[in-house]
């Protein structure tokens, strides 16, 4: 004789299936889950990896800047045959190779972290906004059902230039992990912004890795001649721009949210 327990369980399960959605619907409107805990943690992790990379590179880049300044102040441009200048150029080249080595060591971790976060976010965006909703529904979610309160907590994450990579991810983490964030319709904007940012970052990382391979080979060749090439300077500038950004630009996330309008008239034709 088959035990009755599974049947009871099945019946209870069926009853729950019938009851639960009704109760849930009554309590809360359907929500769009773009940032489950896993995605939030991935963003946090990517920020940590970026911070490690920055802290590894910062002293080297500072040294590179100092050496470059000394090289220019010593009027070594065009005087490469001078023994002192030749020595300075060689030191510069060594530091440059050191920078490339650190980047080469850290970039794979960074690439993995960025790609994992990017793929997780892509899946959420596709499923939650792309496949399950029409453009009108997405718009309604952005506007908020109650126009008097929806936009008060809204803030934009836009503004990816002008910030350190780790600071950008720290800002993203702060936006998506704050209390009450899961019910905030501005999350769609934040998710879109992070995703596009990650797409750009992934392309930059791939390009940087290629550039490191090329530059390492070139610099190893140049070491025997002790020359500073424009390519070297361009790579250093690129690394500085990607990782450290500009210090002066304010983060748009701090911009004041737009207050909802106090509407005096609502047309019966309003959609």
């Amino acid at each position: 004789m088959r035990p009755a327990r599974p049947l009871v369980g099945l019946a209870l399960g069926g009853a729950l299936v019938l009851i639960a959605p009704t109760a849930t619907r009554a309590e809360t409107a359907p929500t769009i889950r773009l940032f489950p805990t896993t995605v939030v943690e991935e963003i946090k992790h990517t920020g940590s990896v970026a911070r490690e990379m920055e802290s590894g590179l910062q002293p080297i880049i500072r040294r590179l800047d100092e050496q470059q300044k000394l090289y220019q102040e010593s009027k070594c441009d065009g005087a490469a045959s001078d023994p002192g200048c030749e020595q300075l150029a060689r030191q510069l080249g060594e530091t440059y190779l050191e920078m490339l080595q650190v980047m080469s060591d850290r970039l794979p971790d960074m690439e993995r972290a960025v790609n994992t976060t990017r793929k997780a976010l892509r899946t959420r965006l596709k499923r939650e906004l792309g496949q399950r909703r029409t453009s009108w529904e997405v718009q309604e979610w952005l506007v908020g059902r109650d126009t008097r309160t929806a936009s008060t907590t809204r803030s934009l994450a836009r503004g990816r230039s002008g910030m350190r990579l780790s600071d950008r991810f720290r800002q993203y983490y702060r936006l998506v992990a704050r209390p009450g964030a899961s019910a905030d319709s501005s999350l769609a904007v934040i998710a879109a912004d992070i995703y596009l940012d990650l797409e750009e970052t992934a392309v930059l990382i791939a390009r940087t890795r290629e550039e490191i391979n090329r530059a390492t080979l070139m610099e190893e060749l140049h070491q025997s001649f002790g020359a500073i090439t424009p390519e070297m300077l361009a790579v250093v500038d690129g690394v500085k721009a990607i990782l450290f950004g500009e210090e002066t630009t304010a983060a748009p996330a701090d911009a004041a949210p737009v207050q909802a309008t106090e509407q005096t008239y609502t047309s019966p034709l309003e959609m």
Partner: protein
Amino acid sequence: MTRNVALPRPVAGALLALLLSACNSAPQRSAVCTPPSGTNLHQAIAQARADLSAGCGHRFDAYWTALLEIGAGDPRPENRRDFSAFLEWSVDQGLLSRRQARERYNRYFGVKYVSLLSDYSVCSRTCPNRSQVLTEMQAERADKELGLLKIADDANAYRRADRLYNEMSLVLEATCAACDASTQ
């Protein structure tokens, strides 16, 4: 003393034809169906109603454009109500369907974009036509500038519509990239 005046036969015939045409029960067209002009929106709406109910319905769009221009000359929050009432009257008169009236009202006086109306998912319908959708939204944003800002004098609502445009552009860019990426 009365005198009987005998009318020549052709004149009598013309008079009779004129009398008969006056008895015709079909709505009369106003002389040329000229949309209103001037600065008074109430008067303009009254004239538009009279003309449109007298057979000028085929020129509804021209009347609507004229009313928008007149409304922009006298920006007031109450204008929204007047335009809404005019559109509802147009529905009652059979000049517009209710859906057309709703879309027209919201195109000019609503924050949300009717260009985004769709029965299908973002991936399947909006993304393949994203540039066209954005172009339509841009045109609608210009109409909202006229309706919300210049006619209804509601700068806050227009700012929200403008911001919504920017947000939707960003969200669509990312969502469509996500939809495309997984099909590659």
